[in-house]
């Protein structure tokens, strides 16, 4: 891999041990993926924020970087709670303290404490063709597919290294030729809103490549499908014919064809259950989703035996304050900074309804609480919580 003189110097430690170490991560990553060089990035999104996953060792590491600053706009993934809901989310004092210590360590490096998996709505908006280094697989797949920005699926540490160094190795999704379709996917049944996340889970589990999909949906539908696809497998980009920005040049002569059947997706749907919690916002809700929810529940009353929790970016929630007011009046809770997967929600509630295939995939795992989860479309879920 080609390194500039400056990069050579940095790698040799001329700018300090921290810079040398972080650059080494990017260079070695580049070597294993045959990158030709490092390229500048426009922004970064960092995961590895939850105290539950990185623990005291993570805090120790972040503090060891003291003095290092991010060199590009950098945003942060969700944490385990919204400070306004510590009781509901059963957060104890020590956990709260340690989690905030992590957030502070990132803030000291110049990271914006956005605590969202949807930075692309307001907090950190990439442009078409821009090179970025993002962690958080649902944001990666959104940025590549819907926006046409270019990022590999970065890890917690490599995204942080890129944020500080301001570069990423040039391979994979950064290269035009790697962004072409490998599979052509058609849907062999009548598509309904609840099918998007299920199709996503299925595609992610059967292919590893760049699917080109023939179906019709809005950006919220595609967000749910993409997040599910990225969670059940390792896909970082898809095309949707007629919709996503690079679809016209995506198809090649040789692609594998797959038709998704109703039977393929059935196993992901989950049995009809009496839920204790309806969770919407994995990935975090868009402004349009918040408005749709508010419109639907306006003036109605929530059933007392079912909780309705909506998760969103603080920025989205602040911009949609009227929708939030209506949802609260209905009896729902609108939480920022966290989500149904990284909070204790899956440990508190054992029967959950959601419109998210990604949330269902995780919440069903023992490590996240092993809840029974049914995936339905947003309106079906909302109808079920009305008194």
């Amino acid at each position: 891999m080609y390194l500039t003189k400056e990069e050579e110097k940095m790698l040799d430690g001329e700018y300090g041990a921290t810079q040398a170490k972080l650059l080494r991560i990017l260079v070695k990553m580049g070597e294993i993926f045959n990158a030709d060089r490092l390229i500048p990035i426009a922004s970064a999104q960092i995961s590895g924020v939850s105290y539950r996953t990185i623990g005291d060792a993570g805090i120790h590491f972040l503090k060891s970087l003291e003095g290092a600053k991010v060199s590009v706009p950098t945003t942060l993934n969700p944490i385990a709670f919204d400070e306004a809901f510590l009781k509901e989310l059963e957060v104890d004092e020590e956990f709260h303290r340690k989690q905030m210590e992590i957030v502070r360590a990132y803030v000291n490096m110049g990271v914006k404490p956005t605590m969202t998996c949807t930075p692309y709505y307001y907090d950190n908006i990439p442009k078409f063709g821009e090179h970025i280094a993002w962690a958080e697989s649902s944001a990666v797949i959104y940025a590549n597919s819907i926006i046409g920005a270019r990022t590999n699926r970065e890890g917690s540490v490599s995204a942080l290294a890129s944020a500080i160094i301001g570069k990423t190795p040039n391979y994979g999704m950064h290269l035009k030729e790697e962004r072409g379709a490998t599979h052509l996917i058609e849907v062999g049944f009548e598509l309904k809103p609840e099918h998007f996340p299920l199709i996503g889970l299925y595609i992610g589990s059967v292919i590893n490549g760049v699917p080109y999909i023939r179906l019709n949906g809005d950006l919220d539908d595609l967000k749910l499908m993409g997040a599910a696809m990225a969670a059940s497998g390792s896909i970082s980009m898809y095309h949707v014919e007629g919709i996503t920005p690079e679809w016209r040049t995506a198809l090649r002569d040789r692609v594998e064809r797959i038709t998704v059947t109703k039977e393929d997706i059935e196993e992901y749907e989950g049995e009809e259950i009496d839920v204790e919690l309806i969770a919407i916002g994995c990935p975090h809700v868009s402004a349009s989703e918040l408005r749709k929810i508010a419109e639907f529940v306006r003036g109605k009353r929530k059933r007392e035996d079912v909780e309705l929790w909506i998760f969103g970016a603080r920025s989205t929630i602040e911009k949609e304050s009227e929708s939030v007011r209506i949802i609260k009046e209905f009896g729902g809770k609108v939480m920022a900074d966290t989500c149904v997967v990284v909070s204790n929600a899956g440990k508190i509630y054992k029967r959950i309804g959601t419109n998210s295939g990604k949330a269902a995939l995780y919440l069903r795992k023992a490590r996240f609480g092993g809840a029974e989860v049914m995936v339905r479309d947003m309106y079906t879920l909302l109808r079920s919580v009305i008194a």
Binding site: K21, R24, I25, K28, I32, G55, A57, F61
Partner: protein
């Protein structure tokens, strides 16, 4: 026997091999407090040999946690480094080599890593 691999994190380390034959899910299979790997045993002060890392990228922090808890291996040999092991080995400063076949590195053997070289003693 001497094998030539690629340096992921430089340094010299000598010790007894603890080998896993299957990819290791770093966040999940490794218990950093105990310094053990599910199905493979204790790796503290050993040379940890495995084909490749797998699972969540947060696993890099698990390798750092081994260092933090004083349970880290002296060195690591992998057939194919992937992002979790690359970032983890570097932040934990564990001498690590990749690009060598591990088939003929027996469990329990005494080996030395010296930058990209693996010497089976």
């Amino acid at each position: 026997m001497i094998k030539e691999g690629r340096v992921i994190y430089p340094g010299k380390a000598r010790g007894v091999v603890v080998k896993c034959d299957k990819p290791v899910v770093i966040l999940g299979d490794i218990d950093p407090k105990r310094g053990t790997v599910e199905g493979c045993g204790a790796i503290k002060d050993r040379i940890f040999v495995f084909p490749r890392g797998a699972g969540s990228t947060v696993g890099s922090y698990t390798l750092y946690a081994l260092k933090f808890h004083g349970t880290a291996p002296r060195g690591m040999i992998v057939e194919e480094a992937e992002p979790i092991v690359v970032a983890g080995a570097i932040i934990a400063e564990i001498p690590t080599v990749d690009g060598v076949s591990i088939e003929d590195i027996p469990n329990g053997a005494e080996v030395e890593i010296h930058d990209g070289k693996v010497v089976i003693l």
